[in-house]
Amino acid sequence: MAQKKNRVDAVIIGYGWTGAIMAKTLTDAGLSVVALERGPARDTAPDFEYPRIIDELKYAVRGDLWQPLAKETVTIRHNLDQVAVPYRKYGSFVLGNGVGGAGVHWNGQLWRASPEDLRLRSHIE
């Protein structure tokens, strides 16, 4: 059944680094903001406790904190002339799930940018 909530100025879908910074900026400007997350609630403890959380196979490789693609995925194609196909296994981008955004899904790793990352448009065009 639909729930009627109080009206706010802005709704942010996904409260990771990007959403949180946007929310801070908006609330500093005096706006009221609601941020939405899908999936389970998580907190620093116990969900991200050492040493369990630095299991690379479970999180960085299998992606146990990501949206399970078996449950829901997107379709992808490179241009409008192609037939879009399901995104079946994680590759170039990951879809978040649960509380915690990119900072969680990257396992706290921030790799040095490649030369292509820094001139992406030149690289793909």
């Binding site: 690379e56 399970p68 296994k89």
Partner: protein
């Protein structure tokens, strides 16, 4: 009688290079190859006896025991893979495996097959052994190391037409899981004794490195620690 994986015996997809790669005879230097699996008392739960022989022989060639570091066999990579098959991962729980399927989709659109990892191994191993028997009269595990390397190379390049999945997809699954088993935390059955971590100098599941941030150029002094707390 030496065996020969020849062009006429394998249905190839292409390339003169592939034909050249196949044109060898097996004067193998190590016919007793595969002996190292006897050191492993692990009994597989998913793989059959024939599949287990293939798997052990294949990962031994991918990460050989006589290579520069510890090999896949003594670090427990086959056990790791077998245990993964029993987990949701093996059953495809992480992947979207419903239709519609577009088998001719570009490789840049990622995995587009319907196989779970379990299915990919089951059909891939059977088809690979069939291809080896057709070409050389032996299952993969009974080929010489040189022949095994050549066959794996053909799989990798998708230059063998398997009766099941695309050869490169099967090889990719095998290589990916072999790497995972070699380098993942020992709690999953591979990387025994953290041998792979010790070899590359990886400190494992250590909590933080803040004491070392301002010590550029200093060698990190500690050996690896596992998630279980085990240390070297």
């Amino acid at each position: 009688m030496t065996s020969s994986l020849s062009r006429r015996n394998l249905i190839l997809r292409s390339s003169p290079a592939a034909v050249a790669a196949l044109a060898f005879t097996a004067a193998g230097k190590n016919p007793a190859h595969g002996q190292s699996e006897t050191k492993n008392s692990y009994v597989p739960k998913y793989f059959t006896a024939d599949e287990w022989r293939f798997l052990n022989a294949a990962v031994e060639r991918l990460i050989p025991s006589d290579g520069p570091g510890p090999g896949a066999i003594e670090t427990g990579v086959p056990e790791f893979i077998d245990r993964q098959m029993e987990l949701p991962y093996g059953h495809g729980a992480y992947f979207y495996l419903q239709g519609p399927f577009q088998p001719d989709a570009l490789a840049t659109l990622g995995y587009q097959l319907r196989y779970t990892p379990r299915e990919l191994y089951r059909s891939g191993i059977a088809a690979a052994d069939d291809a080896c028997r057709t070409a050389a009269g032996k299952a993969f595990a009974n080929l010489t190391p040189d022949e095994q390397d050549r066959f794996l190379s053909l799989l990798e390049k998708n230059q063998v037409q398997l009766s099941g999945p695309p050869a490169a997809a099967f090889f990719g699954q095998l290589l990916e899981n072999a790497r995972e088993g070699y380098f993942a935390d020992p709690l999953y059955g591979g990387n025994r004794g953290m041998a792979a971590w010790k070899w590359i100098g990886f400190p494992g599941a250590r909590a933080d490195f803040t004491d070392w941030i301002d010590q550029a150029g200093h060698k990190y002094p500690y050996g690896p620690v596992a998630i279980s707390g085990a240390r070297d």
